[in-house]
């Protein structure tokens, strides 16, 4: 049974390509507001999981002990654009823990998101380092939590390392899962990544956004991270990227985070809602328009955030002369 179409790509008045997927929205009580497709099947949220992965950084006391700023906490939950500000912030976090770039175990890569940023870096004669990895803030966060707790840093990416056990325990408590080796893969940054049912993942984010059903200390950690991300959206992704642009457009009232292979999670803390989606084929372009449309649907017609969200539900497709030749647009799933 195929999941429904969530986005389509047009050209010349025809639909050229379609994207299928699943979406689920959860309210403050953990009830399903709406869903489409198989939302009980486990998916890898990939980087959409990062806020959960950063909980031990706060809960261990590391963030306070090391004096991490909101910008640094936002970077710990980020898939950043490898811009100088991101690299410098990751290095600053490591510095506060007495570490440096060589302690990171994520691989180096050039800026992934915009050709202009790659060209600028190449022209400047720079070479990518591990701190350029879009997950370097998450890794710096893992390492800060290790140092503060006197844990070994050399094996911090081992699924059996104490810091990764703490991460898994936090996810299980928040999402109501029981993550084991059969749900564990290796992410692009070499960190353990986990598969969980999309509805459990969304329900976990509803708890993080509202604090309902969480221990007070965990609820505080969650809202601190979410507020940091919403307050510093340029640290979470980068210019011209949906997470940054949508959070900016919504004035700190919406949290949204992408994950590789077509994943998004979003919350509106004031409305007590969270939603998650996975594009079956892994396409970011489809997940982007679909998450904006799903947020509008979850907030219902006439909500004052709707005008800020609407432009994100459609993205023009242009030729190399800049002429619009089609569009990627959200389709409301049946």
């Amino acid at each position: 049974m195929a999941n429904p179409v969530i986005a389509e790509v047009t050209r010349g008045g025809r639909v050229e390509s379609v994207h299928r997927g699943r979406v689920v929205a959860i309210d403050a009580d953990g009830a399903v507001l709406f869903h489409s497709g198989d939302v009980e099947e486990p998916v890898y949220p990939r980087s959409a999981l990062k806020l959960m992965q950063a909980l031990p950084l706060i809960e261990s006391g590391a963030a306070d002990a090391l004096g991490l700023s909101d910008r640094e906490l936002a970077l710990a939950c980020a898939s950043h654009s490898s811009l100088p500000i991101h690299v410098q912030t990751a290095l600053a976090m490591l510095g506060k823990a007495g570490l440096d770039e060589t302690d990171l175990q994520c691989g180096p890569h050039w800026p992934l998101n915009r050709r202009e940023e790659l060209v600028a870096m190449a022209r400047a004669g720079d070479e990518p380092t591990r701190a350029h990895n879009n997950c370097s803030g998450k890794h710096a966060g893992f390492l800060c939590a290790c140092v503060h707790q006197d844990l070994e840093t050399a094996d911090y990416l081992d699924p059996d390392a104490d810091i990764q056990r703490q991460v898994r325990s936090a996810i299980d408590a928040v999402a109501g899962t029981t993550l084991g080796p059969d749900t564990c893969g290796r992410d692009g940054c070499s960190a353990p990544t986990y598969a969980l049912p999309l509805d459990a993942f969304a329900r976990g984010f509803a708890r993080l956004a509202t604090g309902q059903g969480l221990e007070p200390q965990r609820a505080d950690a969650a809202i601190r991270l979410m507020r940091a991300a919403m307050a510093e959206p340029e640290m979470v992704a980068g210019p011209h990227r949906l997470c940054t642009e949508l959070m900016s457009a919504c004035g700190g009232r919406v949290y949204v985070k992408t994950g590789a292979e077509g994943v998004y999670v979003a919350t509106v803390p004031e409305a007590g809602l969270a939603l998650a989606l996975k594009c079956d084929d892994g396409a970011t372009r489809a997940a982007e328009v679909a998450v904006a449309a799903a947020l509008m649907r979850a907030l219902a017609a006439g909500h004052d955030l709707a005008p800020a969200l609407a432009p994100f539900a459609r993205a023009p497709v242009r030729d190399w002369n800049g002429v619009e030749v089609g569009a990627v647009r959200a389709v409301e799933p049946a």
Copy 2:
């Protein structure tokens, strides 16, 4: 009714993403060897159409009159990697027609395919020109055909321009279609692009590969273009790209060409077969493994080309440390 899964992406022992699509293989008599999914629905073949779009270049006599080489003919059918050899060859074609880069109406872009190539160009201080557009060979071919026939060059991308009428007439004759304004979109290079049923498109390529059912002059033009592409595979795409690597691995016995949004066409002239596929969601990674698998299926077990094709039906997914964390692999559609 959803089309079947043609490729899947794994991570940590799980399927992370899936790609659906349609595939059709046609024999020398125009009969369907096998098909899956809706292969009668029109799709845009995009750049997989380029060999058909180059027919007027030969049939008008322009290629002979201007002394175009096999490398230049291959470039006329190419989606090249914007490497110096590609840019120089496009400029040489224009030069033979007394034109230059300013006559091209495709927009400039940086190398699209490999980060290494973009970095090298940026480091050298170069800027992309129109001749860097991956379709510049096709455009140079249009312009050569215009000049030889004393046609206006200023409007060569207008769907009503004589050269575009010649292109449409050639496609209609070869594929048995009746292309009209309702089937016309604008490609990324700003040229008119057409939607046609996938089976008609594949059947047209079976005719081009065998000459069966074509006027002798058209059959000669087709096989000349196809042989040029198979003989000069590095002109058709570039290093580490499937069209180039697969044609090289098959020693000039297989023709394969990609199109944007997940399209492939392939022929094995000696076996009198052609096939075409479209990944519904437009993913190149899926179309790549699926076209290799479809070629193997069409050639049947034990064919001497099978060992050359097999490696292309699976592509490793690596993390940024180079460790294999999953794979993109073809799925034989039901």
